[in-house]
Symmetry: C2
Subunit: 91 residues, 2 copies
Amino acid sequence: MEELRTFVLYDIVEDKTRASIADVCLDFGLVRVQYSAFAGMLNRNKREELFLRLRDTLGDEVGKILVQPVCEKDVVQMLLHENDKPPEEDV
Amino acid sequence: MEELRTFVLYDIVEDKTRASIADVCLDFGLVRVQYSAFAGMLNRNKREELFLRLRDTLGDEVGKILVQPVCEKDVVQMLLHENDKPPEEDV
C-alpha cells in the first residue's frame, strides 16, 4: 500500500493531552516539524489507525486534529524557511 | 495556472511577529485552520510571493515557516476531528 508523507496538525488546550498526542505521533514514527505538527511516511491503513488513536487520546477535551497526506509531487513543492536560535542564547 | 490548497504552518517566538505573519496569510485570502496554521487556494506564483512576504516579515527573528501545497486527490483524504468548547464556557 502506497505510503504518503502525512502531516498531523493539532490544537490542544490541555498540556498533558497535547503531550500524549505528540507521543502517539512518535509511536507511529512521525517526527516533529513544528511545535504542534508532526510528519512522516504512512500508508492509508496506518493513517486511519493513527487518526483513531489521536481521537481516542483527545477524548472529550477541547481540541482539533488534522491528518493530511501529501503526495510526492506536492512534497517537492514545499517551501521552507527557518531561522535558528543564535548559538549564544541556546543554553 | 493551477491553484492548489496551500497550507502555511509556522512557529514564531515573538507574539507581534506571529501576528504579522497571520496578517500576511489573511492578505493572501487564506483562512486560519489551527492556531498557527492557515490554508487556502493559491497558484504557484502566489505561493512563492506569499513565501517571500512571510520570510521578509520574519526577518532575522527566530522562527520557522512551512508552505505546503496539497493537490485535490490528497485534500479529499484529509482526516479531521474537532471538539468545540462547551457553550457555557465560551464567554
